[in-house]
Symmetry: C2
Subunit: 246 residues, 2 copies
């Protein structure tokens, strides 16, 4: 909800609001966001902020009144249309709390379109708080100036996911047993990166993944990467080779 | 000090010890490492572990006795020589605690040879606990199977660093104002990646960096990355293009 205040402030304070925005619209910002605007950023009536809704884009808004629990704002004008990110999904086995939160944050910043938690045989985290993950992604979107939030789906089992794998979507999986460099796997077009749990995939899972014609195993170098490191590395490489960092 | 127990155990438990190891040598492991071997990993006399010393490589050692506060081991044989990583330095402005710890961990896992903290004009963290950073790097080295620890230096001011910049070392800096893709900047050979603080470089700093003939500004895509995200992205791209992930 609250990005770290930049010093010096390089741009307007940005907030996500979960309702469709339009020109001239008046709205009330409450809860933690109101506290953030008033007490943390010390904004006053007359100041401007940026709002995005994941639907219509990003809007400039003027603050009309700052209260302790509510801030009244009015939309001035649209600054940007909603911008899509490259069509890259991240499929990741849930890992322990701090690291999965970090993964959600980084997935958003790096430009992933969708985060799909995947249950594998060695996944040892059985409960996943999607609301908390979503909050981390919203904060990251506010920070990194995305106007579109990543989609976040309910966890599914790996076998189920593979069974219904879309014909036109490349499945790039980080294979601890070795694979091709990302440069040989990343091509523009619909793709997904699959990161296993800390214990890795089972032999059966690896065989099932490899049986998909859309699948390619990639190597992320000679060191053993933690799941969160592998995720950041693989997404960064893909973005540089096939995404919008080129 | 303690990597997460892998399930199933894929390899020997690995520990860093800060003394030169040799064939047949007897040594005592104490403190948190002894607790880890006995209470966490539940190893017993007769079990084997891997030790590395950042000097002579990685050794197989046999446990001879497990006590509450000390574990007696004897070196059996060398398994690997000390392996160097690519000659990549990471120069990073200190950021707040959790994020700089994470940066040290990821720098080690991703294969950085040296971490040099850099003080810039907008660096707002004035104290840096190098012992804590080093502990995070050791834990990461244990986890990722490095046999050589990254060097970790005392913080230096950016201006001082630029003044004495080695003639043969490329300086790749993440430029929020845009630059070339990493593919145009990363070439095999000595290199450094420079990541600014959350507030970015000042105009004067940017000009001083750009004045170096060894310097190239790179873009990490259209979204605004936090410093820790930029670091993981830039190092991953460099490793894929010019490091040992090819």
């Amino acid at each position: 909800m609250a990005q770290t205040p930049a010093w010096p402030p390089a741009s307007l304070t940005r907030l996500f609001v979960d309702q469709p925005l339009s020109q001239g619209m008046a709205l009330t910002i409450d809860g933690g966001q109101a506290h953030y605007l008033g007490a943390v950023m010390r904004l006053k009536a007359g100041d401007q902020i940026a709002l995005f809704d994941d639907r219509t884009g990003e809007w400039r808004a003027g603050i009309e009144q700052v209260g302790k629990r509510a801030v009244a704002v009015r939309i001035v004008e649209r600054m940007r249309e909603r911008e899509a990110v490259p069509d890259l999904w991240l499929l990741a086995a849930p890992i322990k709390k701090g690291r999965i939160d970090w993964m959600a944050e980084k997935a958003c910043e790096l430009g992933v379109a969708r985060l799909q938690p995947v249950i594998t045989q060695r996944t040892i985290v059985d409960r996943l708080n999607l609301d908390r993950l979503r909050a981390h992604m919203i904060e990251a979107a506010e920070q990194c100036e995305r106007t579109a939030l990543p989609m976040l789906d309910e966890p599914v089992k790996l076998a189920q996911l593979l069974k219904a794998w879309p014909e036109d979507r490349a499945l790039i999986f980080a294979d601890e047993e070795g694979g091709v460099p990302m440069a040989a796997a990343a091509k523009p077009g619909p793709a997904a990166i699959l990161i296993g749990p800390e214990g890795g995939f089972t032999d059966g899972e690896r065989a099932a993944i490899k049986a998909l014609p859309q699948a390619t195993g990639v190597s992320l170098g000679p060191r053993i990467l933690r799941a969160d490191t592998a995720m950041a590395a693989a997404v960064s490489l893909w973005m540089g080779l096939a995404g919008d960092w080129r």
